[in-house]
Assembly symmetry: D2
Homo-oligomer: 356 residues x 4
């Protein structure tokens, strides 16, 4: 950590900084410049907050040198983490496509769309049973009933399921149904929830908050990792900027930046990222070209009648076209779109024929 | 609600919009412009989401006319809400100053600072027992022990206490100690938590999220109000923008905008708003001039040694000077800085003399 | 245009709106909702400012329906504009790569790098002779001498040149040397300059300002088009957001959004967009996948010693690798990377052999 | 300047940094931390760009310690600059109110409003003759004719005038009429224009760009100062953020931040800052409470019929009320609202009686 003193800081104020650093186990290297004295602190300062020094008299500012995320960072963990979800690997060479409706609306709806997205090549099924809604008067999801329908869809199709968990109390219940727990953007810094999903053995997809900095996202992952759950993937889903031509600004730069800073897999969510189904194909292709390890896409058999997010959902036929395009882009960056393990795909197809 | 059709929308697509609106109980008024057909929907559309129409074929966009917050909005509730906290009124003509440390660090610390801020004229004591921290390795607060110390400080000083509640599980416990429940910026859209505090009978101070839109803040208040708790105050605490000269951009414009849109009291938090104690006096005065009903300020007897937020905490002597300045600004806008009810101030002073 | 009245607007206030609209040649369709009266104005309102009605008593807000950019918009000009720059077509099926250093630093430097980028497959040479610099003490460019070196590089390589013009006074001079005039991000709304380049017959590449809205960018293009110059291309180069992990947030969403709204070609600038050479390959590939018609990239033979922007410049060998990758992505979206017209490429190669 | 090396940087790469610094006249102090080597450079680095080191192999990032604005900064110029405009002092203890219409629309309009704002207590008259407009089809100002009307208004009222200059070519002409040259937000980084106004002897009010960082604003002031014009005032006029409840986010924090960083006077523009006349009174009072040295306000005798910005203009009677309120706030911070020099006020009143 670097502590920059004010131009008019006294020697005693600089000495106080050095003395405090010593108490924290760091050695100090003061450098006397023309305008400012700068004190470089050497030692493990990753867990020391900057405000500890910023609050001292005579201090202008501090600059952190070491990144504060020990477990999420690439420095101490150089190799990519690959997460195995029922035999589907996220973070390896194959790009995983997760697809399904925003909300589970009924048994028929989720079963139908599950078969459709599987047919088009998705390998993980998404669908919300607990929905964080801006208005208290909006549809809030089917709750556990929705989870049961998702489980039934998994049984029929063989697709693992990802679904959101919103509260500490429901972590246990959702974990019994879901293959991947999703932490939504609004809950990125809901630390109680992060700690709770850190204690279960289910992979977690952590979404970047709508104004989450990349370093904050990594610190939130650190909350989960430091509680013992190492299967965390990071999801870019659009940030809030001044631009209103798109609902959010889908920040693809986050993909290479996260890959450089962290070993965790990176998922891109073009549906929420853009909020506009017409933009999804272009931005999905761009996400793959930029290096995403997985995509999560909203697909609904009838967006006009969706209970939520119809305007950012693809129809199944458009999704199938997009999958074909994505295979070409993946090949152009020497990757593949992941497929279901062969035996499961077949066995389940048999099952599907019987039940649908 | 206004539905704007695309220039190439077909008559059938417009008819589908009209038909869907009819099913929702709204009458439609199509207007045929040179480039676009526009359909004005008349009826109560406050609880209808825009995506219901945005997702339809041929629709370019929708524009909401009615505000979706029925309970928080001023339209249906023109008179200011005044919240009574142990005899101190928030939202009336007097401006309430809440002050105290970021975190409760020890019994001695909170008792000492409580007397100091009371002496300077604060009428509510702030202090965090549960702390949402960016790093999992940082001090997370004293928990229930911290609440007990706060209660002891209240007993000694007569100052009601405001403290943050972070999880649904602790709402009941925190409510037993606190006079005002604080929902922090990171939890503005933690809907489970909002519903939980909506069901207890304690005033709630809801902080604007770091990228919360004003209309979102009002929708979050709506979550609390619609669960039966009408004693909600709104708190501006700085938003995230591109500017890095200040930690956040303390958005004072929110004060008159919230007063225009809502009947709920508005609190300003210059400590988090600026993140820099040197800026707090100027911005506190500005907040009062802009119409804030209350201020919440971080005061610490030794910011250099604070366990959190030392850099944005005022020393007690600076706080006392600021209080004098605020009284002058309040007078210049025909308001007063609130004082403790006389009998309590006296009785407690007697108590204080004995115990401190 | 839609005019929304306040809930307490009087009939006289609504009548005043209707009367003003009539004077402007628009017919009015008032709709009486439960809370608000809404007046829909039918007629050509594209050149009427919203403040004309927003300022009226009783008006809550106005909503524009027609887009105000007549010439830049796709509504009245559905087919893509293709700009011919010395035989190289921008906006057609082939994707054009413009490359070269941030600044022209010397004759040797620009000639050397021109041959290098041509060798790697670029078809247009970039280089700044007039440099907008944040500090008045920084290198400000070689001026006309730099333009002469660029012209010499064009003569040797056959590559057309793009260079920035910063002031009205130099438009004529720069036009004599350049094949494409670049308007920089800081000058997006320098209307005098836009009018000046609208009056010369040189293609213009207009960069989005660092906080330019997409609709503002199109209105700035409208300034150029309405002065008679129809050869305008739009350039996304990164916007300013709260995120500091990247210098700017390169907004690839702008590519499909601009293609939907406008017929003008869209150029992507990953060098400024990211400000970080390590991110350029990923984001260049993403830009092509998202539909960019051209890329503009900073390439320098020795970024360590560049007089400006060394940190966002590619070395020639990295640029050559990227070109190979881009050809694969282009093919995956059924496009090609543009090449120089065969005869010119050959003739110039002959010339090159003699002069270098 | 601090240069932070990557964890895997080689000794040779660090040596190259030290060697380059030496060539620039700086001594180097390398500090070897657990993860990173850090090189502190001592010497005058204010005019060295960070990219000079950022571009080097093995460098992670650089941190600037000295501020790059020598002339605008307070470090080397601790006392406040006070600018004298025809006897009215800006930057001293008195707060100057500049008022008038957005645009000069006609001789009668500007003369009438000039008398009105003088009557209410303004001491400087604002009015635009050259208008930067978002649309090429909007009213662009009366040009030199407008300047002549302004001069006539000055003659009648004794109020000095401030008006915008948009292009280098018109700097000379506008300087012949105006007492203060205004550089608009869109031109904050129009460096040619900054250099041009740096060479004339007229005070300049430099507006912060809509996404201008405070340090950029100071660097733009540096462009003017370094060309020899020391009479520069800085104007906060609202920044672009994600919030759409206000047209801009009027950033009052800039006032104390600028006062801390710079000796130049700070002007606040609540009209553009908020874009909404209903918010102007609250935010004007807040600006004075926050320490603004001057306010600039749009006043129009008939906002409903203004040719521009009617929605953010105060009527003269509201402006007069606001002036009364501002005097009270100014007194509460031990300042006064400036008044015209007595003799001029009288003499001119005599003149006024004859001519109006």
């Amino acid at each position: 950590m670097i502590v920059v003193m004010k131009p008019d800081a006294t020697a005693a104020e600089t000495a106080a900084v050095i003395s405090k650093a010593k108490r924290m186990g760091a050695s100090s290297h003061p450098i006397y410049g023309s305008d400012h004295t700068v004190v470089a602190l050497v030692g493990d300062m990753t867990q020391v907050e900057r405000s500890v020094f910023d609050a001292m008299a005579g201090v202008l500012k501090t600059v952190r040198i070491q990144e504060p995320y020990k477990l999420a960072g690439r420095t101490s963990h150089p190799h990519n983490t690959v997460i195995d979800v029922n035999g589907i690997k996220i973070g390896g060479n194959d790009i995983v496509v997760m697809a399904g409706p925003c909300s589970v609306e009924s048994r028929d709806q989720i079963l139908e769309v599950a078969h459709m997205v599987k047919e088009a090549g998705a390998t993980i099924l998404r669908g919300g049973a607990f929905k964080p809604r801006t208005s208290p008067y909006s549809f809030q999801g089917l709750g556990e009933k929705g989870l049961q329908y998702l489980a039934e869809a998994r049984e029929q199709t063989g697709l693992p399921i990802i679904t959101e968990v919103m509260t500490v109390e429901t972590v246990q219940m959702v974990s019994e149904y879901a293959d991947i727990l999703q932490i939504g953007a609004r809950n990125m810094q809901n630390y109680g929830l992060l700690q709770a999903v850190g204690k279960v053995q289910r992979p977690v997809m952590l979404k970047r908050g709508i104004s989450g900095e990349i370093k904050e996202l990594l610190m939130c992952a650190e909350y989960i990792l430091s509680n013992g759950n190492y299967n965390v993937m990071l999801c870019e889903r659009g940030i809030r900027t001044y631009e209103t031509a798109t609902r959010n600004t889908f920040d693809l730069n986050a993909i290479p930046v996260l890959h450089r800073a962290s070993h965790l897999p990176v998922v891109a969510d073009p549906s929420h990222g853009t909020g506009d189904w017409e933009l999804i194909p272009a931005m999905s292709k761009a996400a793959v070209a930029a290096g995403a390890d997985a995509l999560i896409l909203e697909v609904h058999q009838s967006p006009d009648n969706a209970l939520s997010d119809g305007d950012q959902s693809l129809k199944p036929e458009r999704f199938a076209e997009l999958m074909a395009d994505l295979r070409r882009i993946a090949a152009a960056v020497d990757r593949n779109i992941a497929t279901l393990p062969t035996d499961r795909a077949e066995a389940v197809n048999g099952l599907m024929k019987e039940t649908v």
